[in-house]
Amino acid sequence: MDRRRKFLFTGPTGVGKTTAIALISDDEPVATEMAASGELAATKTTTTTALDFGQVRLEDGEVIGLYGTPGQQRFDYMWTLLQERAMGLVILIDHSRPGSLTDLQRYLDGFGELIAQTGAVIGLTRADSEAGPAIDAYHECVAEYGYMLPVIECDIRRAEDVRLLMEAVISMAEPLADDQGALPEENES
């Protein structure tokens, strides 16, 4: 039985999930890119439609998986599949994108079960954009769901920033690891 633990990255298309995983993965990540269409094709040529997968090997040989989800909601069945046994979730939100709060709500809804169990970290990219709402608006949005989650402004192209997100998500997972047995277990079905 695969007991592998994993962390999950989600967020809208083009926000930098694949980039974030590539920055901290030990191996070149597995990507499932397909040609982008419609308006998306104007900003990027390909997009993830199944998953991104990277891994971090610990000194004792244990491997921690890093999974990225497809961004678009039509792939929400992948969200459901990928969040099994996840120890934590990073939600990347493009602050400069119109409707960034709606984006956040989409992932708070889509990953509600996991967030209730492990919490999540909100990574805010392009946070210096004046187009987006005040940072407090993200805190308020999260609070409306009954959560208290860190909102971290980051440049996802910088490994240092991705590590800060990981530090936050690990900090939230630590109490779970302390509460023995509270870590999400593999679904036996």
Partner: protein, 146 residues
């Protein structure tokens, strides 16, 4: 009507004609779906009610994963993704780089016939539509149509 719209409409007519051919060739076929490579449905013909949006997205995930799995296994290209269930088959494959074809058939369908017919349709569509722009029905991005 703009040039782009006229060409897109013509594209849809081409795809509809391909449906006719495919249904004629494959007994037991009960659904065909064309979608963009990234999972937006373009046009479909189903003999029963089905969720075209989810089928299109899942076809995209499966073909993407199939290609990745083939490369990881040292193979060059994933020709088909085949789902064989108790009740029948679902086959998904690329049409060029930007389109996918999915065909749904009953259990009594010959899998060989299904695969070869889908391949023929894929090649025909590729040949007839090379260069034509394909946009999802409604032409909107995923984030907006939800």
């Amino acid at each position: 009507m703009s040039e782009t719209t006229r060409r897109t409409s013509r594209t849809l007519q081409v795809l509809e004609r391909e449906f006719d051919t495919l249904f004629d060739r494959v007994p037991g076929l009960y659904g065909v779906l064309f979608c963009t490579a990234d999972g937006d449905p373009i046009v479909e013909r189903f003999e029963r009610q089905m969720d075209r949006d989810r089928l299109a997205a899942m076809a995209s995930s499966l073909v993407a994963l199939g290609g990745t799995m083939a490369r990881t296994g040292g193979q060059q290209h994933c020709d088909y993704m085949i789902v064989q269930s108790h009740d029948g088959f679902i086959v998904s494959l690329h049409i060029g780089r930007n389109l996918l074809l999915s065909a749904l058939a009953r259990r009594d369908t010959s899998l060989g016939m299904l695969l070869s017919s889908c391949r023929a349709t894929s090649e025909s569509v590729s040949a007839r539509m090379s260069g034509a722009p394909i946009t999802p029905r409604g032409g909107q991005s995923d984030e907006q149509d939800r």
